[in-house]
């Protein structure tokens, strides 16, 4: 339940708890301090008076002569005083001022000589001093009631008990106001964020220029939005490219079928059209297949890598493409085959090798050669495929690994390919922690290098 509370409510509850604690502590210490200091003041006063009486006694030769505060000089009420003689079996009062009965006298023998001792009984506090004076043992006692003090403390207690909740109430209201105020920008942020959807990712949160936490948060959110927008744009560019790629074979197929159906034709013509439509379907299938491969490539990261021998794979792929190379009048040569091991996914490496060699053959002119070399570069396994084909301009070189990027956009369907070949190779090499490098010179040829980890 606690976890579902909003930060605002939690802050408020924390605030109330802390304030209540502080107030209680404050009230308690105020009460205690007052109690202790008042008691001490009373004790001090009583002690002073006791010592005063003692001095007075010492001045008089006859103890019966002394007057106990006849002028009320101590300005201390209520004040009770008593001077008693310690005699065998008890005390004999010498002089006393309405000393309250209920105050039990201290057993004199328990009192040390010439030391003022305090005791409490009922609501009275008593200071007692046992002295020896002119061969007599005397007990001087002064007492006062601390009923007044008790009343004061009681009043204080009631005031505190009354005022603490009120203070707490105001503090809570204040806290609530403060919290609401400081959370207002957050609420605004939430409202604005709610309005941002996939189709208006270009909107940004406004910065208030206060450089505070809210601004920092807004900045971060804006950063995320920018990255999202870019990713979104890439995706929509990609799907635009896909639909464009699919439209060409679809147009060919549709026109052909429509035109054929406009009037009755020979059986042979129908067969031709159907074969041609199948060809177009093949193209569409290849595009779809490659797209699926690209989108699934992410999932394969979890599989364990295995030990793969590149030489065998390479000669396998070359054999696979030999026929196609011959048909196009391109000499496909494989050099430097030894055993080179890498860690990776055999299936993916096969695809990468196939795509790179296939590309080289597709873009080669009749009578030229494609050389495939396996070797090591700086201790890393390395496959290079070089052709003597048309080459790629520097301005296109950086883009050819992008999906559907083509140097000559119109050439595709005569050379074949889905426009995804190098993008797939790039992705596969990334998954192997490797690299795809392209070097090219217009009219001289292209060298593609696959470099493993």
């Amino acid at each position: 339940m606690y976890k579902t509370l909003s930060i605002k409510t939690r802050l408020l509850l924390y605030g109330i708890a802390i304030q209540a604690g502080v107030l209680l502590l404050f009230g308690y210490s105020l009460y205690k301090t007052l109690e202790l200091s008042s008691k001490e003041r009373l004790q001090t006063s009583l002690k002073v008076i006791v010592l005063d009486i003692y001095d007075d006694l010492a001045e008089h030769t006859q103890i019966e002569d002394i007057e106990l505060d006849e002028e009320g000089e101590y300005e201390f009420t209520p004040l009770f005083m008593r001077v008693s003689r310690v005699v065998e079996g008890g005390l004999q009062t010498v002089k006393a001022t309405a000393f309250p009965e209920e105050v039990a006298s201290v057993e004199p023998s328990k009192l040390p000589l010439r030391k003022v001792r305090f005791s409490q009984s009922g609501s009275y506090i008593t200071a007692a001093l046992r002295v020896r004076l002119a061969g007599e043992e005397l007990l001087i006692e002064t007492a006062t009631s601390y009923k007044l003090l008790n009343d004061t403390l009681k009043n204080l207690f009631y005031s505190l008990a009354f005022i603490t909740p009120i203070i707490l109430l105001f503090a809570t209201l204040g806290a609530k106001f403060l919290i609401r105020r400081s959370f207002a920008p957050v609420r605004e942020l939430i409202t604005r964020l709610r309005g941002i959807e996939a189709n208006n990712l270009s909107s940004r949160l406004p910065l208030r220029g206060s450089e505070d936490e809210i601004d920092a948060l807004s900045k971060e959110i804006n950063g995320v939005l920018t990255r999202l927008e870019e990713a979104f744009e890439r995706v929509s560019q990609f799907s635009g490219d896909i639909s464009h790629e699919l439209k060409t074979p679809l147009t060919a197929m549709r026109s052909e079928l429509e035109i054929t159906l406009r009037k009755p034709r020979q059986r042979q013509e129908y067969e031709e059209v159907m074969r041609s439509a199948l060809e177009e379907i093949g193209t569409i299938e290849e595009i779809v297949h490659n797209l699926l491969f690209l989108s699934r490539a992410k999932l394969q990261r979890n599989l364990p890598k295995e030990r793969v021998e590149l030489g065998t794979l390479l000669s396998q792929q070359c054999r696979l493409l030999q026929d196609q190379a011959q048909q196009r009048g391109v000499a496909l040569r494989l050099r430097g085959v030894g055993e080179v091991f890498v860690r990776g996914y055999e299936r993916l490496i096969k695809i990468a090798l196939y795509n790179v060699i296939h590309n080289a053959i597709l873009y080669s002119d009749r009578g030229t050669a494609v050389a495939v070399t396996l070797g090591k570069r700086g201790g890393r396994a390395c496959v290079t495929v070089s052709d003597e084909g048309v080459g790629i301009d520097a301005e296109h070189l950086a883009h050819v690994t992008k999906s559907f990027y083509r140097v000559d956009r119109s050439r595709t369907r005569h050379t074949g390919g889905s426009g995804l070949g190098l993008a797939i190779v790039q992705k596969i090499m990334e998954q192997h922690g490797g690299k795809l490098e392209l070097e090219s010179q217009k009219g001289v040829g292209t060298v593609v290098t696959l470099l493993w980890e």
Partner: protein
């Protein structure tokens, strides 16, 4: 009616050419931008069908170059690029119409007919006296009697009707109703004219096709 199709995809080009020929159009095909521009400026076409992505020169630039050379043949752009901005760019480069791929062939035909319409004619029919040619339905009739014509005869009649009351030479006719890949012997046009006359003039009272010896032909009511 003579069309120029500039389309780099050989298969699409071949298919469209066949389909259009079956609609009694004569069609020249080019797979290259610069070649297309050369053809469009050298020969006289009634409509140019232009793909946008072409080797050596793209469709938009081709269209601009064409208009710079003051060739105002109607251009219909055919392309897989269908975004609004791209359509606007294409139309602004001088094209008369824009048809995104994949399109229905019927729609392409309808749009070609739109480009062939002249202000005084309005619809898709051409008429001289009681002779009516319907471009859309590929039908010809005279006085309500339907007449069956071959593709070439239809094309010839259409050409003549579009220039009714004007004299056209055999050369002009050959230019328009024959595409580049057809070989033409010298008397082929007079053979077509002869056949057309047999179908259009012979069964009726008033001849509409007149020969101007040594100059050419003219279609129209006698003056």
């Amino acid at each position: 009616m003579r069309l120029l199709l500039v389309e780099d995809d050989k298969k699409i080009a071949k298919t469209l050419q066949r389909g259009l020929q079956e609609e009694y159009y004569s069609v020249d095909v080019s797979h290259d931008g610069k070649e297309g521009l050369y053809l469009a400026t050298t020969n006289e076409y009634d409509v140019i069908l232009l793909d946008l992505m072409l080797p050596s020169m793209d469709g938009v630039n081709l269209c601009k170059a064409l208009r710079r050379k003051r060739v105002h043949t109607p251009v219909i752009m055919l392309t897989a690029k269908g975004e609004i901005e791209e359509r606007i760019e294409g139309l602004d480069s001088g094209a008369n119409d824009y048809l995104p791929k994949p399109f229905a062939f019927e729609e392409l035909l309808a749009r070609i007919r739109v480009q062939l319409r002249t202000p005084e004619q309005g619809g898709d029919t051409l008429q001289v006296a009681d002779l009516v040619l319907d471009r859309g339905k590929k039908q010809v009739s005279r006085g309500g009697v339907p007449i069956r014509l071959t593709a070439k005869e239809f094309a010839l009649l259409e050409y003549l009707l579009r220039r009714k009351n004007a004299v056209v030479s055999e050369g002009m006719i050959r230019e328009n109703i024959q595409s580049l890949d057809e070989d033409s012997s010298s008397n082929v046009i007079s053979v077509y004219i002869y056949r057309l006359r047999n179908k259009i003039d012979k069964p009726f009272d008033k001849p509409l096709i007149h020969t101007l010896r040594g100059i050419g032909y003219r279609v129209g009511e006698d003056v």
